[in-house]
């Protein structure tokens, strides 16, 4: 099965981290995966995005022209990437910062979540909004399992943050629970 996603937001929102985490989860499931970071004169507060492609077959293009899915953490990212989406695609939108009305597509599945509130409720602070978003994406797309993402945290996180793994797992699960129908 093939899945691709572009994740985008401000530098510092943890975009690259959840991109890496998703890739590690795919590796745990013995799938092929590419992680391509946006590469330029990036800085904290600037824009950051990455593309992750997961495939059971050899991954062809790591470049995603028309994404199946988006994780959108800020408004400029929605404006930039939404027009390129495939019809029927899934957008996990950070409602804490972007009003769903900014979306101009009516042929996509827009999942607007108050990520900060969900993060606060699950883990006691708002800094795991990125993990909530990833949990929601994974649950919605089935690209990998939520369990694989939880297990992959130890691969994706620097060992000095491993004590934070349980909090991250709660945030991921909260994201998944929020989109379970």
């Amino acid at each position: 099965m093939y899945n691709d996603v572009i994740m985008a937001g401000f530098g510092g929102q943890g975009i690259m981290l959840i991109g890496n985490l998703l890739a590690y989860a795919a590796i745990l499931e013995d799938k092929n995966v590419t992680f391509l970071p946006s590469y330029g004169v990036e800085m904290r507060g600037g824009t950051a995005n990455c593309s992750v492609v997961i495939d059971e077959r050899e991954v062809g293009s790591p470049i995603v022209g028309r994404p199946m899915s988006l994780i959108i953490m800020n408004r400029p990212s929605l404006v930039k990437f939404e027009p390129r989406m495939k019809p029927g695609g899934v957008v996990i939108l950070n409602k804490t910062l972007v009003a769903p009305e900014v979306s101009e597509r009516d042929d996509i599945d827009l999942v607007a979540l108050d990520l900060n509130a969900l993060s606060e409720a699950a883990a006691g602070n708002t800094r795991l909004a990125n993990m909530v978003a990833l949990g929601a994406y994974v649950q919605k797309s089935g690209a990998v399992t939520v369990a694989s993402v939880s297990v992959a945290l130890k691969d994706a996180l620097n060992p000095k943050y491993h004590k934070m793994i349980p909090a991250n797992q709660k945030a991921i699960e909260a994201g998944a629970a929020a989109v379970k129908s």
Binding site: N32, L36, V59, G60, S61, I63, G65
Partner: protein
């Protein structure tokens, strides 16, 4: 040394890891984006294997340090990008004349001039046609995945020693920056033969040796040049690498190398699903160029499309290689843009359905 089965790593790190596992313990270089993870990795890991990392004062210094180290028979590498590789061209020519083996990595950037740091294939001509002076060639390898970056780096050291030639690995920012799982491995032979009769290792107890590219005596220069040409012919005969995908029944063949070949692969998978018979020829060695493969494929398929991230460089070699009755179209994107699979789907399907212009 125990090595994990799969390692999730950046392309640049895959190259550096492979180099050390191939026994390359000497690295001299000067930083430039988008290849900085290579010197970073070498600086961190070479001391642990008893090697030497040295940040040179310039790329010109790096390549000449490489020249000196290579003369002693050790495996040695440098890496750079566009402008830095341009500065090294004089050294490349001396490597050719002196017949010394070493590996240079060009994770190229957009040009001309200082350009930009993103992916491009504008350095094809410089790589395969010789950017330095004289009648010489480099061995040029063009990987297209993380695993291939690793595998071809090891290959680069081996083939470089086999022919006593500089080997260039040509990549770009997509390949250098992408992270993928790779499976590292260690080759059986991780250093050159210490008994090579040309090494400069100290002349105590034996006749002194000389490594030179200066040939002034009557007839010597011509003899040396014919000798070099003989090596290039041998390379074309014995060491061409090329990947063919679905060429057997193809009515259109796309020719592409490096990162863009990956994007082409996705596009071809889609046009195949739409019922179009399209295949791919992907040169892995850009020199020696897979002329014979193209001649063979061009015997049965008459329509070709060359796709490059430049405005038309490899297409010249494709046209020279194919039989005269083949039609060769070109789709290029200059530095500053990367085609998506959807762009290439459109180009490939339009070329496929267009009436032959022959």
């Amino acid at each position: 040394m125990s090595i994990p089965k799969k390692v999730f790593t950046k392309g640049n790190e895959a190259i550096a890891m492979a180099a050390i596992n191939a026994g390359c313990h000497y690295y001299f270089g000067y930083p430039i984006t988008p290849q900085n993870e290579i010197p970073e990795y070498m600086a961190e890991h070479l001391p642990a294997v008893g090697g030497e990392f040295l940040q040179a004062e310039s790329e010109i210094a790096s390549i000449n340090m490489l020249l000196g180290a290579a003369a002693t028979g050790v495996r040695v590498m440098t890496s750079s990008s566009g402008p830095g590789i341009s500065l090294m061209q004089e050294g490349f020519s001396y490597f050719a004349g002196n017949e010394l083996p070493a590996v240079v990595v060009n994770i190229s950037r957009q040009g001309p001039g200082l350009g930009g740091i993103n992916a491009t294939q504008g350095d094809y001509f410089q790589s395969v046609k010789g950017g330095g002076h004289g009648d010489y060639k480099l061995i040029v390898l063009a990987p297209h995945t993380g695993q291939e970056l690793y595998d071809l780096t090891i290959k680069a050291f081996e083939i470089s020693e086999k022919y006593r030639m500089l080997t260039l690995i040509l990549g770009d920012a997509i390949l250098g920056q992408i992270k993928e799982p790779i499976i590292p491995w260690i080759p059986e032979k991780i250093s050159g033969d210490p008994d090579r009769d040309w090494l400069i290792t100290g002349a105590k107890g034996r006749t002194p040796r000389k490594i030179t590219s200066l040939f002034l005596a009557d007839g010597e220069m011509e003899k040396h040049n014919w000798h070099l040409q003989e090596k290039y012919e041998r390379l074309e005969r014995d060491d061409v690498m090329v990947e063919e995908v679905d060429t057997e029944d193809a009515e259109l063949i796309v020719v592409a190398f490096g990162s863009v070949a990956r994007i082409v692969k996705s596009a071809i998978a889609q046009v195949r699903e739409a019922g179009m018979k399209v295949g791919l020829v992907r040169p892995i060695t850009l020199f020696p160029f897979p002329r014979q493969t193209l001649l063979d494929v061009g015997g049965r398929t008459k329509k070709f499309l060359v796709v490059e991230m430049n405005t038309g460089q490899m297409v010249e070699d494709v046209r020279l290689s194919l039989p005269g009755d083949c039609q060769v179209d070109f789709y290029g994107r200059p530095g500053g843009s990367v085609p998506t699979p959807e762009d290439l789907y459109d180009v490939i399907s339009e070329t496929y359905t267009a009436q032959s212009s022959n």
